[in-house]
């Protein structure tokens, strides 16, 4: 049986009459890099705040490590590291002093600070005041805060927000290395499809507070509209020929598109070539993540 580090049942959060999160059944498997995907305002940050006990659910239950969050909050939080929206830091203090506060509160050994700073590559700047840091450095400092201690679950809310491309890549590589380095499960929320595709292996898609999809990235991609793309000469005659053979064909620009998953490409190619058509491109295309996402969210809209 699959073990879930995060499991919510019927999780709902209402602000007055507005339901920011509706009946959410989130399941994050142990060891996963789980991408929590949704457009701005979809309910991602609200869900993360609920998971950390920062706000209370209107309805439903939250279990982390198979323990009820309302009953075992402190025990659970000792195993969780998080960044909610922007990282937190005291600008008038140095990077080291910022981490020293967390270290003191959590009673961790002193060398945890240097270890964490080393991982996020801030050792050189550890005695610099944070107010002089770039956004990327501040983000890395935020990550260093939860690298201290043996956290088994890391929750990152939009960790690459506002970073330049180099910063995005740096943070992305750091996040990808975390499960192996710390033997941790990672939940990362984002509204950037490409980011989720590059980082995660499991995906949950939330829109207007509802979870529309949950599963592996491969399962999500399999939901895409598969189609066969053909470029052949003469194009219109080839289209007529295929229609005559019972295929649903659409002409899009200089190519023919045939929707469907179970078409034998080899047989199709042979039929066209033997009938005198010049085939210079033939491929099976899976729908990209953007199409799938828009398809899923469009169904709700």
């Amino acid at each position: 049986m699959e073990q879930f580090v995060i499991e919510t049942r019927g999780l709902t959060k209402k602000f007055n009459k507005f339901a920011a999160v509706k009946d959410l059944n989130l399941r994050v498997p142990k060891g996963a890099l789980y991408g929590f995907l949704g457009p701005n305002g979809a309910g991602k940050s609200t869900t993360i705040r609920l998971l950390l006990g920062l706000i209370k659910p209107t309805k439903g239950t939250i279990h982390l490590f198979n323990q009820d969050l309302t009953k075992h909050r402190l025990e659970i939080l000792s195993r969780v590291g998080s960044i909610v929206e922007a990282p937190s830091y005291y600008e008038h203090l140095t990077a080291y002093e910022n981490l020293e506060i967390t270290r003191k509160i959590l009673q961790l050994p002193k060398n945890e600070i240097d270890k964490a700073l080393e991982i996020v590559k801030l050792s050189k700047w550890k005695n610099q005041r944070v107010k002089n840091f770039s956004l990327g450095m501040k983000q890395r400092l935020g990550i260093a805060q939860f690298l201290m201690g043996n956290r088994e679950l890391l929750i990152l809310d939009e960790p690459t927000n506002g970073l330049d491309p180099a910063g995005v890549r740096e943070i992305r590589e750091l996040i990808i290395s975390l499960p192996e380095m710390m033997n941790a499960t990672v939940l990362i929320s984002s509204h950037i499809l490409n980011e989720v595709e590059l980082i995660t292996d499991h995906v949950g898609i939330i829109h207007r507070g509802k979870l529309l999809f949950q599963g592996t990235l491969a399962e999500l991609k399999a939901r895409g509209r598969n189609e066969i793309v053909i470029k052949a000469n003469p194009l219109h005659k080839a289209a007529e020929f295929l229609k005559g053979k019972g295929y649903a064909v659409a002409i899009k620009g200089d190519k023919l598109c045939l929707p469907g998953r179970n078409i034998n490409l080899e047989a199709l190619n042979r039929e066209l070539v033997l009938s005198g058509f010049g085939v210079y491109h033939l491929s099976a295309s899976l729908g990209n993540l953007e199409d799938i996402f828009l398809q899923l969210t469009g169904e709700v809209d």
């Binding site: 950390l52 920062l54 706000i55 659970i76 937190s88 008038h92 203090l93 506060i101 967390t102």
Partner: protein, 247 residues
């Protein structure tokens, strides 16, 4: 208890390099300097006044100093209480602090304690500076240690009510500047309310005015009402903070 002390240490670390430390040292010095000037230039005149005749010069010094100091201390206590909470809002740190495996009650108590400790340092510093002022003015009469000890303890007890209400306000209002503004209005109006003992009992901002050990002043207001309101607001603050939702 261990967790509370760890959080307290953390709170003091956050105040490192903060403007609060110069304030804690310099504000009592400023108050003492003003009193020194007052008595240096007006000692004979003040002693000649009918209601001061027969007074010990140390008592005169306290009487003269008290109304500047009560006002100054209340204003600075308001600023410190707001600052300790504002630091978390400014640095976006409430989410981080409350996602740590520590009890919310202890987080609140640690913040409240920092404010009380800083105020106790100011109050103690003020008493020490005043003794120095008296010595500097050449008072030959024996120092009335009890008078100064009572004055110090009364202030520490009375300030708890102001710290209690300001900490509570800083928690319920997401904008710490609003709490600061309310505090300033409270302190400014305290002299007016303090004219009625009945009103002063129930206004935490006015308790400080009743801390001067003098037979004409009802110190019970500072002692009992100050401490009682201090504890009530501390309880309110903890209760509210435990339920507070952080967005």
């Amino acid at each position: 208890m261990g967790e509370y002390f760890r959080l307290l240490k953390g709170e003091f670390l956050k105040q490192k390099k903060s403007f609060i430390w110069p304030v804690v040292v310099l504000i009592p010095l400023l108050g003492a300097f003003l009193s020194f000037c007052n008595l240096f230039f007006r000692y004979d005149y003040l002693m000649s006044l009918e209601h001061n005749q027969g007074h010990n010069p140390w008592q005169l010094l306290l009487n003269q100093h008290h109304f500047i100091w009560a006002f100054l201390l209340s204003l600075v206590a308001t600023i410190i209480a707001s600052h300790v909470h504002y630091l978390e809002y400014r640095s976006n740190s409430w989410k981080q602090a409350l996602a740590l495996p520590v009890s919310r009650a202890n987080i609140y108590l640690a913040k409240w304690s920092v404010v009380l400790i800083l105020n106790t340092l100011m109050i103690s510093g003020n008493s020490i500076y005043l003794v120095a002022v008296g010595k500097g003015l050449g008072f030959t009469e024996l120092l009335d240690v009890n008078l100064f000890l009572n004055y110090t303890v009364y202030q520490i007890l009375a300030i708890t009510s102001l710290i209690g209400i300001q900490s509570w306000l800083s928690t319920i209002l997401n904008n710490a500047n609003v709490a600061l503004a309310i505090g300033f209005v409270g302190v400014a109006s305290s002299l007016f309310f303090a004219q009625s003992e009945q009103l002063a009992k129930f206004l935490p901002y006015a308790h400080m005015i009743y801390t001067l050990p003098d037979p004409t002043i009802n110190n019970a207001i500072a002692l009992y009402y100050g401490l009682t309101f201090g504890l009530i607001f501390l309880g309110f603050g903890i209760m509210f903070f435990k339920r507070k939702e952080i967005y």
